[in-house]
Subunit: 171 residues, 2 copies
DNA sequence: GATACTGCTCTCGATTTAAAAGCAGTTGCA
DNA sequence: TGCAACTGCTTTTAAATCGAGAGCAGTATC
């Protein structure tokens, strides 16, 4: 853990934490994909390689973005959890997704989640963050009488995929 | 300009544009520091080296984040301008600053701007973006009867610096 | 006892980073 | 009319980092 930073500017320091091509994608997969294990994270859309994943997980733990613990069901399994610091990135993820959707060549199926996050606004983000606190920090669940935000996003994704498969079939 | 992306996910595509340690800092200096010229941008807090700056500027222009034009006052000067795509990052900058301020070892003088942006909220961000559109895109100025957002932020920064200098003097 | 799965680590070539010096002009001032 | 300072870079060289692929010791499953 080095303490020499390039500057004390908050944007610079943020970039020193996740200013690379992979760290935020790992966080993304944990938040939106519910992934907790090394082998799960290895199967990312973008094909991260194992040494890079191992290195980033180690760094993210050192930075306080993740914690690592043993899986009681399997002596060799490690479980990675988001800290509050990482959960607090949800609004930034939402903004980033909205920005990317507007200016970059996104695909429909991979941006439907971003669209729903954008439409849901800060209220939805807060609900999502609360669910993540339950899942990763052991917080007490609030009102469990409706599908979780992640389930809703995932269902929308699958719906787009199903529709696209059907369209391909008809063509 | 390559068209092969790792995936069509909006967050991934965003990272492909500014997922490195320097690009966002250049945008930051243009937005908050009002810098437009190569030599100005070279004098960043973090000490970017000239070859990296040249490379990033080139890439950012290719990506559509910046435009480059001649300075009529000096045949060798180039002026870099933000596009709407880059101006749209202002809310993300504000969130990033707020997040960094909360979780990372920022210095007071370099985070006062982030604090004011956070306190000002979306309304202030919009005003700032409008000012940037006037400055960089030649939009028509709106109501010019008060100091600009950048001036306000800069004044706050200088006030902190002055106070700190005085404290050092007394110590 | 065979098979698959666990979180990694190792090796090695390719790419990226960075500091420093240099460069062909342009401009302002004496 | 000279000269110093300034312009946006480029070049060079060494070091650090990245990344694909293979491999590994220890589970768990059947």
């Amino acid at each position: 853990m080095t303490d020499d930073h390039r500057s004390g500017c908050p944007i610079n320091l943020s970039l020193e934490v996740f200013g690379d091509k992979w760290s935020l994608l790992i966080i993304r997969d944990m938040i939106f994909g519910g992934k907790r294990h090394f082998r799960e994270l290895l199967r990312s859309q973008e094909g991260i390689s194992s040494n890079i994943l191992a290195d980033r997980l180690k760094t993210l733990v050192e930075m306080g973005m993740l914690t690592k613990s043993d899986d009681p069901s399997h002596k060799q399994k490690a479980i990675y959890s988001l800290t509050e610091m990482a959960i607090a990135l949800v609004p930034i993820m939402a903004h980033l997704g909205a920005w990317g959707r507007r200016y970059l060549p996104v695909t429909e199926e991979l941006s439907i989640r971003a669209q729903l996050m954008e439409e849901g606004g800060p209220e939805l983000w807060e609900r999502f963050m609360d669910e993540l606190r339950v899942e990763h920090l052991g917080a007490a669940p609030a009102v469990p009488d409706r599908p979780t935000v992640r389930q809703t996003l995932q269902a929308a994704y699958e719906q787009v995929m199903a529709r696209k498969a059907k369209e391909r079939e008809l063509a």
